[in-house]
Subunit: 266 residues, 2 copies
DNA sequence: CGGAACTTTGACACATATCAAAGTGTGTGG
DNA sequence: CCACACACTTTGATATGTGTCAAAGTTCCG
């Protein structure tokens, strides 16, 4: 069943209708500067922020192209030509990789403040598909421009390297999760991780709405939707959480952390 | 059982005895240049190669520190302060990540021509442990230096970004492998991948000695050593390969590729 | 209200882990 | 050069976690 590509996905792409030109212009950058100052990507997407005026001058090589996507819309597809990284200004994305045959693996979720698309740099094509899980807004950063600017501004360059490295480390964790953990542990990690990210973005960490279906969670954790559901029920019985459809309340954080330790000693 | 840290691992670290000073010196770089010209890392570890003389002048900020490791020696440990990337000049390494409890996951193998340690950039500590699986030689590249040089030489900078991106893509494949593939498929992929890498480094692609034990293969693929062994035997029965201890001959490459397709359609 | 999409729960199947024991090198010391 | 030990591999029997299939339940939305 997972073979079929979700049909509800519209084909609308990038470039929100209200966002016009793609050509670099001082005007554009200026407006970007104001936008960025209120953006909580400051650290990640640093180019507009924390720079001196002269550095700022250099930064006009960078074109920012904001766009809005609605739930289900595709930011980029596997195979698309790579031109930009995307900073998630607001919203929630999933990214999935697929191999020749029909199989797919969710490679990650990106929420507000995170950056998508780093997989495309070397192959110059995206190797996965990024889909908005809720109405979202991204800031497209032309990679060629970013590289040029990074060339001139060491702090930005370092920032960018750290960002890529963080992605590598994050993926190593996922490998550990997929390779060495039981269903209970995977789901506990998933919930705690999600909670941490919500907290980091100013949302209540112990009470949130999942933006994804059981099937999507299962795809990320490499479990079937049934196993995800059963494990949720089990956690609820153990009074670790309270679930009601997409709504989750974490009742016993320490308990969830203990779940992760259960299978250890191997 | 896997809890215990392999005892045979010696504690000898980095810096082979013959390699002395760590201070940058023109002399050092000069000798490096000759070394690199005969090094098959040209593309990856580009700094010494394909550069103009003036770029070369800049490159003297880079300190290379070659060192030899014997089978079982540790290049760096998880938690070690991160200072350098390591280009594998010759040999074979595995790198393992571990979580609090005793569990570990092999995150990859690196052979001649590949680069280790990119996970350490953001945390400024290594997040995994790299161990030589055979007598090996690496070229340590001070990261601070690399960053400085990359700042000045765009082509090097791009090269470096591609390298990190490639690592991200590679890990996505491993996620797919761990998350979505059966034991047969994992082992087939492993063999074909290994074969491709041997070919790329000028070794016969259909006949090679595994540098790792069944347990290590299992750790990488997240299978038990028994399952690895059984699957080898099965492949042999199907006349796909011939195995004898560590020696492997690939008899039917197309057949192995077909194995990877078996489980698809999901 | 009806239907679609999603979730929950149950019964059963199956791949892989686990436990156990025998087999095969390979290097070391007598 | 043998033989003993050790580390690794193979194979078998059994256990178990998760997938698969099926059906009923819930929520959402037109």
């Amino acid at each position: 069943m997972a073979t079929s590509i979700p049909i509800r996905i519209t084909t609308a792409r990038r470039h929100a209708p209200d966002d016009s030109a793609a050509a670099p212009s001082p005007e554009k950058v200026a407006s970007c500067a104001t936008i960025c100052s209120s953006c909580n990507l400051r650290e990640l997407c640093a180019p507009c922020c924390g720079l001196t005026r002269s550095e700022m001058d250099i930064a006009d090589r960078l074109v920012f192209n904001r766009s809005r996507l609605r739930r289900g819309e595709i930011l980029y597809r596997s195979g698309d030509r790579f031109t930009s990284l995307y900073a998630v200004r607001d919203g929630f994305f999933k990214s999935t990789a697929l191999i020749e045959n029909g199989r797919e693996q969710l490679t990650g979720y990106a929420m507000t403040g995170e950056v998508l698309g780093m997989d495309g740099i070397a192959p110059e094509r995206h190797t996965c598909t990024a889909i908005a899980l809720e109405d979202s807004e991204v800031c497209a950063i032309l990679f060629a421009g970013l590289q040029e600017v990074a060339q001139a501004i060491p702090s930005l360059q370092r920032q960018f390297h750290r960002m890529m490295s963080r992605e590598i480390v994050r993926e190593q964790w996922v490998m550990l999760l997929l390779g060495r953990m039981s269903a209970e542990e995977r789901l506990a990690m998933f919930l705690l991780n999600l909670s941490r990210r919500f907290l980091a973005h100013g949302h209540p960490p112990s009470e949130f709405n999942l933006r994804m279906t059981r099937e999507e969670i299962g795809s990320y954790l490499s479990l079937t939707l049934e196993t995800v559901s059963r494990t949720f029920s089990q956690f609820q019985q153990e009074d670790l959480i309270r679930v009601q459809q997409r709504f989750v309340r974490i009742l016993d954080r320490a308990g969830l952390e203990r779940v992760i330790g259960r299978g250890e000693q191997r």
